[in-house]
């Protein structure tokens, strides 16, 4: 099968993967993986705290490696690959975080918001663009709004100066048809590139990514061994292989990508992401994959079923950054159970 379509690969192993290890990736981890990904020809290597630049905090988890060290280390070890950062306005401010990051040599800024809140990205996109930096908009938890509303939000990012928009299946909720509908809507309604970021809660990360490419997406995210929040992301070395099998051109050398993934498995990843019962429920409930670890911990503490916690979080439409609600929900479920036993 032959495609003329070029798929650009963005690799957030060192950012989304940080979710999976409580943001404990070290400078040594970053240096080693950057070298390997660069050798493989990955287009963009994203680095930082799981929630992006400036997000290291007590509530979200403190980074082992501060942003400035992580970025300087990555910069030093990336040649052809571009250095990317994930920026959520609010966690990252322009003065405190973005300006120093750009000074350290960041090439690509991906400014992210909840799928219905693109407005908050205006200043960060505008600033990055004014600095001559490649800037993308990211719409997280994109399953929570319809394709039409997703396009409205993406158009805002386009108007602010984004060169492309990535929509993120942050909870691994989509099936390929969902992805196809959204990509087609975005491609037809925007004048800029469309990208897709998958999670694997329902085992569909690769299938969804391929559906995105087939519908016209030109950028796909993937992590080595799927190293990312919850059930993990699209497994990058698999994605590269499948793209190659389908005749897409990703510019990534398969053998070297497999080497990079082996290195990640050996050095970075304590526990290869897998689809646990809880991550299936997380995907079904449409709750952010990054909640899996805190939900498991808090559910155990309150002696409640984490699956019930997830469905209740989904019912309340809780999003990343509202981690404190997990405690509230677990406590309520525990109280309800106690009353029921009386």
């Amino acid at each position: 099968m032959e495609h003329s379509q070029i798929i650009r690969i963005s690799d957030p192993t060192l950012r989304d993967g940080n979710h999976a290890v409580g943001h404990q990736l070290s400078a040594e981890h970053i240096a080693a993986y950057c070298k390997a990904a660069d050798a493989a020809g990955v287009s963009i290597v994203e680095v930082g705290h799981g929630n992006g630049l400036g997000a290291s905090s007590l509530q979200l988890g403190e980074s082992k490696t501060p942003d400035h060290i992580a970025l300087a280390t990555a910069r030093e070890n990336l040649g052809k690959s571009k250095l990317g950062i994930h920026v959520i306005p609010g966690f990252a401010t322009i003065e405190r975080d973005l300006k120093p990051a750009l000074a350290l040599g960041v090439d690509v800024v991906r400014v992210a918001s909840h799928c219905s809140e693109a407005d908050i990205c205006e200043r960060h996109i505008d600033f990055s663009r004014s600095q001559g930096i490649e800037v993308w908009g990211c719409l997280m938890m994109s399953h929570m709004i319809s394709p039409t509303l997703l396009l409205e939000q993406a158009r805002k990012m386009e108007s602010y100066g984004a060169e492309g928009v990535v929509f993120m299946d942050s909870s691994g909720h989509f099936i390929p048809e969902d992805v196809r509908l959204r990509v087609e809507t975005l491609v037809n309604g925007l004048g800029i590139a469309v990208g897709f970021h998958a999670h694997n809660n329902l085992g569909l990360a690769i299938a969804n990514s391929i559906a995105a490419a087939a519908a016209g997406a030109t950028l796909l995210d993937g992590c080595a061994r799927g190293f990312g929040a919850g059930a993990g992301n699209a497994q990058l070395e698999v994605l590269v292989a499948v793209l190659e099998r389908l005749g897409y051109s990703s510019g990534v050398n398969l053998y070297k990508m497999l080497d990079a993934a082996d290195l990640a498995a050996k050095n970075l990843i304590k526990e290869i992401p897998s689809i646990t019962s809880v991550s299936v429920v997380s995907g079904m409930a449409g709750v952010f994959s990054g909640f899996i670890k805190p939900v498991a911990r808090i559910a155990k503490e309150f002696n409640v079923d984490p699956r019930d916690v997830f469905f209740e979080l989904g019912r309340r439409k809780i999003v990343a950054g509202q981690e404190d609600i997990i405690l509230e929900v677990a406590k309520e479920l525990a109280e309800r159970a106690t009353k029921g036993n009386l």
Binding site: E158, S159, I192
Partner: protein, 356 residues
Amino acid sequence: MKLECQERTRHDCLRILDGRDTALEPLRQSELVVVGGTGFVGTWIAEMVAALNDGYQFGIRLSLLSRSTDQFSNRLPHLANRADINLIKADVRQLGQFPMNADWVIHAAANPDVRTHASNPLDTASVIVEGTMSVMRTAERLGRLKKLLYLSSGLVCGVQPASEKGLAENAQGAHAPDASFIYPNAKRFAETICSAARAQSRIPVLVARPFSFIGPYQSLDTPWAQTTFLSDALRGHQIRVLGDGQVVRSYLYGSDAAYWFLRILTAGPSGDVVNVGSPVGITLQDLAKEVAINFESSPEIMFNTAPRSAGRSAQLLPDTTHAENEYGLSVFTPLEEAIKLTVQWHRMMQSNQARI
């Protein structure tokens, strides 16, 4: 503003007026009001009026109404402090203070920034629709009014068919209720308000439809292709082109546009609709190259890989046959010259700021 920048814009106006001043004779000894007068168009009209008064003793009294008069005063004291220019701070939707002796009115109040349209669509519509209603209600009370020119937008004409060289004034944009079309939709409705005011209150109103402009006073902060390319190059960055660079646009220089508006205002019959812009198209790829050749560093030109979607117009050019035949208007400043002049002006402004 630095003297050499003022001299440059004055020279731009005098260059256009040379041999063409008589076409603006109706403006002599009259009172002109520009609502929304401190933006790109208003500033260039103020420059042109100043040149007419200083160079040709026209004796025009100009009032600029805007919410941003303070910024205008700070930025452009050489215009703000002139005895023949009067700044009035006002919201177009509440025109309590209006020069009641106005002979001519240009209604240019609207924010063309796509970022504002995206983030504040309701406010965008309010300024355009309620503002136009407010201007028409005020115009009903102007005893000396000769003509009112409403500045609409070339975007009301919709998508340009591939078979057409340009969009004529009778082109109709398709109905699109989506919020992202708030600006052209509001402009269309404002044109309808103008028509209604003419029918009901006999207000002598005509419509100009501006396309794209280039020149001094255009903020490099705006996310349009020409301003972004200039901003990238002036900052020493690569010029980043969104898409494949094959989209075609055209650009009319600021002083040309000011002359066009004054000519249409004074010569046009009530009810006329006139495109204002350059009919000479250029791909964004070539525009980026034209910008780059003005810099010794020859900034690299980068293209985004996004494929252009089928629904997007590949070109948006005005058909200016009507302006040429009925008003004797044409492009006075070729695009290459316009880009060169704009780059020079911004460089002068930058060196001025560096000294400050």
